[in-house]
């Protein structure tokens, strides 16, 4: 396997925003322990702006680092802006990910979308978030 970038290792060793938000406005959980990673992302929203984001992740180094990075990226953004954050942006912000770990950035994007979807639902407005039928991710086979 390719090695992790120093940015990935930094976020893995000292992840930002670990924890729960008990009164979160949106919570999303994606992934599957069988596949080796589960991410739960919490967001707090005030007047359409994401004021806080926290996460809990069961997963590899890349899964923890992408969770840390995606929570950093959404803070201070409007909900609309957050919807545009892609997995590629998360990976890029981390200085890239090994090819076999790109699915972790996909999972981070999905966790964010799932939390945003939950936010819209809690608010009682139609959610513009497209959630794939099977949450989680497809693994490339051997």
């Amino acid at each position: 396997m390719e090695q992790y970038s120093s940015k990935v290792m930094e976020h893995f060793a000292h992840p930002h925003n670990v924890g729960e938000i008990p009164d979160a406005d949106g919570v999303g959980t994606v992934g599957n322990p069988v596949c080796g990673d589960v991410m739960r992302l919490y967001i707090k929203v005030d007047k359409d702006v994401i004021t806080d984001a926290k996460f809990k992740t069961f997963g590899c180094g890349a899964a923890i680092a992408t969770s840390s990075m995606v929570t950093d990226l959404v803070k201070g953004k409007t909900v609309g802006e957050a919807l545009k954050i892609s997995n590629a942006a998360v990976a890029e912000a981390l200085g890239g990910l090994p090819k076999v770990k790109m699915h972790c950035s996909v999972l981070a994007e999905e966790a964010l979308r799932s939390a945003l979807d939950d936010y819209y639902k809690k608010k009682g407005v139609p959610s513009p978030v497209k959630i794939p039928a099977s949450s989680g991710h497809e693994h490339e086979m051997e």
């Binding site: 060793a13 990673d37 739960r40 590899c60 923890i64 770990k101």
Partner: protein, 406 residues
């Protein structure tokens, strides 16, 4: 790496070459560089060296020198055994039997044979990783030419009942085949050779794979034992080396190293077993006492002395591995995330380990360089890493909430 201590607990991946092994090898890179196939003095010098190495390797496993065929790796030996034995005996039958927890170099070779018209029977294992000899007895039929069951599993350390299974293959061989060879039995002894006694006659096997770098020899030197009078089809053709069974100029320095490592192992095995098993037991005890929701994988007694395979609930293996690495501790992980296929270990899946906890697996394999202080250091460092990762884990959070809800 600024860790206080460096503790290498990944001897199943590879071992360092013993200083005496390196010393023995060095002249064969420079002064004694000859090609063993040459008749001049330089050639004879190299030829004598590899024949001496062959005799030492043979002695380690109770074989005759002419029954040892050198290869480049355990994977090559396994491929050679599976394909070479099956193909050389295909006129007798086209069924081979392997266990589900074999190394991929056996399983993938078996798959290749399947594509060329062989049938392959996969024997299951129980929760501790043991093959039931009765399953082998039921599986062998008149079409069976080869059975391959590993001596010990490299991941969970379970030692298989090879003697019992070889007795069955002999008995069934007489029943189903008219020739003296009967049903052939190969064992992959890569995980056991050099660590516990391995004797081809006591085990009753026709072929056996071993690899030098697994027991303080160099990488690139391995062997396949093939019992006298057993036919095997070469997989690398084009030369007279290895009695025509494996072409290619011999890796003389590495083979000399394998011979030396075999000689050292033959003298040291009892000491290795007692030293390492005591440390392993200390490690196991220390971790069980300090970490809850922990599962020990493998067999409680029929196991390698240097193996400890544990699965920890609610944490993922690679993240533990990386944090341990920051503390100077090298271990291996059976988690999906460290394998390219992103699937949990096939061995853990076969012994019925819950797929969720299989991803939280650490394989710790000890060696002669480890000390009690090393083990205590690991016992001190691992529990807080596990706790930290659990506090970060949504699965742990859910479990705690469920427990509180009663």
């Amino acid at each position: 790496m600024l860790a206080v201590r460096n503790v290498y607990l990944d001897h199943a991946a590879t071992t360092p070459a013993h200083p005496k092994v390196v010393e023995a090898m060095l002249p064969y890179f420079t002064d004694k560089f000859g090609n063993p196939s040459n008749l001049h003095d330089r050639g004879r010098e190299a030829k004598n060296a590899i024949e001496e190495a062959r005799a030492k390797t043979a002695a380690l496993i109770g074989a005759r020198p002419e029954e040892i065929f050198f290869t480049s790796s355990g994977a090559e030996s396994n491929n050679f055994a599976l394909k070479g034995l099956a193909q050389a005996n295909s006129q007798k039958g086209r069924n081979i039997i392997v266990s589900q927890i074999e190394h991929f170099s056996v399983l993938h070779a078996a798959k290749t044979l399947e594509k060329s018209g062989f049938t392959v029977t996969y024997l299951p294992v129980d929760k501790q990783g043991l093959v039931d000899p009765a399953d082998a007895a039921r599986a062998i039929n008149k079409d069976t030419v080869l059975v391959s069951i590993m001596h010990a599993n490299n991941e969970i350390g379970t030692i298989e009942p090879i003697k019992e299974i070889s007795a069955i293959t002999r008995e069934k061989g007489v029943l189903f085949h008219t020739d003296a060879v009967g049903v052939l039995f190969h064992t992959d002894a890569v995980a056991t050779t050099g660590w516990i006694p391995v004797d081809v006659k006591a085990l009753g096997v026709d072929a056996l794979s071993l690899s030098g770098h697994q027991f303080y020899g160099p990488k690139g030197a391995a062997a396949l034992y093939v019992r006298k009078n057993v036919r095997i089809k070469p997989q690398i053709e084009g030369g007279i080396q290895e009695d025509g069974r494996r072409a290619g100029t011999e890796n003389v320095p590495a083979l000399v190293g394998l011979g030396k490592a075999s000689e050292i192992a033959a003298a040291e095995i009892p000491r290795r077993m007692s030293h390492i098993a005591a440390l392993r037991d200390r490690l196991q005890k220390g971790l069980v006492e300090r970490i809850d929701h922990l599962v020990i994988n493998g067999h409680p007694s029929s196991r390698l002395p240097n193996h400890l395979n544990v699965s920890l609930w609610y944490v993922e293996g690679e993240s533990m591995l990386l944090f341990l690495n920051m503390e100077g501790i090298s271990v291996s992980s059976g988690s999906a995330c460290t394998s390219r296929s992103l699937k949990a270990s096939h061995v853990l899946t076969c012994i019925g380990t819950d797929a969720a906890v299989a991803n939280g697996t650490l394989l710790m394999t000890l060696g002669m360089g480890n000390t009690a202080e090393d083990i205590d250091y690991v016992i001190e460092k691992l529990p807080p890493i596990v706790q930290r990762l659990r506090e970060m884990s949504p699965l742990y959070e859910d479990m705690i909430k469920k427990e509180k809800a009663g």
